[in-house]
Amino acid sequence: MSAPILKRLRQFAPRSPRTLLLAEFPDAKALVAAAGALRGAGVRRFDAHSPWPIEGLGRAMGLGESILPWIVLGVGLSTFLGFLAFMAWASLDYPTVHSGKPVLSIWPLIPAAIEVTWMAAGTAALVGFMALAGLPLYYHLAFRSPRFKRASDDGFFITVEGDDPRFDAEATRALLERHGGRVERLDETSAKGAPRHG
């Protein structure tokens, strides 16, 4: 019973591609231009890497609005109402009278419910972010290139995945080079890649 569910879930898990074109660009402007051109050429499975978020890059790549706020709102609101209902039920389940207060009153329950809400909403923000950003993914083909280390320092990269059925290595390479990219091709050599260590 559980095995097929796990298998089905696994197809949603982030995965490293088998083939990758990695192009390094001199600056953010070239990166945005190249990303826009790739999108224009109909390439889907690519990403643009930078050490800090670049304004306008998301627009150039046609990324939509994140659904994360809705996730956080949903989790937060249901936690608030759920925990409030739980406390109200528990107050009646084990009724106590303290300093003349009614057995059940909504007001003093609100602070605790709000705190639990922040707890749940914060968790939803972090976990939701990880799910939407495809994390954690400890092994990725791009990590095999020593150059890619600069993606967290001061380098700008585009990776085009070869898993796209319409992937055309030569045309894509030409397009990336036209925009000033230094392109290299990475292929998975073993069935199970080990993370590199430099």
């Binding site: 998301g58 706020p69 709102l73 300093s99 207060k101 007001w107 003093p108 602070p111």
Partner: protein, 387 residues
Amino acid sequence: MSEGRSSHFILGRLPLSLMLAGVLALVLAVALGTVEIKRFLVAWQGGWTFAVSLSIGALFVLLFASLTGSTWIVAVRRVGESLSMLFPLWAVLAIPILLSAPALYPWADTERAAHDPVLVQRLAFMNLPFFSLRGLAYLGVFFGLALLLRRSSLAGRPTIDRMRFLAGPGMVAFALCATFAAFDWVMSLAGTWYSTIFGIYFFVGAATGALGLWLFLTALLERRGLWGVPVGVEHRHDLAKYLYTLTLFWAHVAFLQFLLIWYAKLPEETFYYAVRSRYGWEWVTGALMVGHLLLPIFLFMGRRAKRSLALGGFFGLWMLLMHALDVWWMTAPSNFPMRRLGAVEILCFLGFGLLAVGGVLRLLGRSPLVPDQDPRLEASLKLRSEP
């Protein structure tokens, strides 16, 4: 071009008509009030508090912006400036309250106060001469600060730097005056009742009302294309975010004031809420909870609602109305434990509200609509919100 703008209906003929309508409403209220003088006085005091609180709220927002050196607000600051310039008008309209204080304020009724074990102890502070003097001083400080801010905005660079320096001490003076004004004008209506947070409750609520009007008028001017410069969605968005934050903060303060009094259950405090939860007032309390908190929290949480011209303007107008309700809720039940809502109450709040809106529009038409001497104006107009 500025000729063309000021001759436009909204900045030209409308303000005067609005003010006239306001005066008419107040005169009508006086006429109706002769039947039952105390009812009229309570309503007048409520309306006056509402109006003066709008100017206080606008002054608070302006001072805070000067203090933090905010750029975004520069383009739309004239709206708040005009609102904060109305203190002289409110000073004149306070005279009926001063003259009839014994009917409104329990401590001013010397006969009654002398026999009240609590009130009698306060008479050194709460007596009519000192009360009037303090009121004059508060209004003088408020108007002085408003005038300084206005001057600096009209004159440009040198005074703006000086204003930034003065904003700190100005804020201190403002906070003290606003707090004690709230204690004097509003809290002391409730007789022996006291709450240490009341000053903050009052001027945070005032700021929501003022920002509501501010946002509404900014949207209105944009809708009619009167700004003449690119004032638009980004400025409204920032105003709406500000208003939203203040609304949450107001709710925080209001809820905690209630909760702490509920917990302690001291009779000298609880009667304030006891009065407001029966004889018709429970509906007003409920309306405040829903209208001042729950509804805006969910309706205007999203970015899209805050950036929409129609919804954003509606948000402003709604919070203005809710603030009026809040003022009525703060003031009237102390004198009328049974809720009374009729033509007199509506006319008074409407009259003062119309005077405020008309006054703002009139002052807006008299000077350039944006502070064109301010060196930060260009940056303010280029404002872009981050993704």
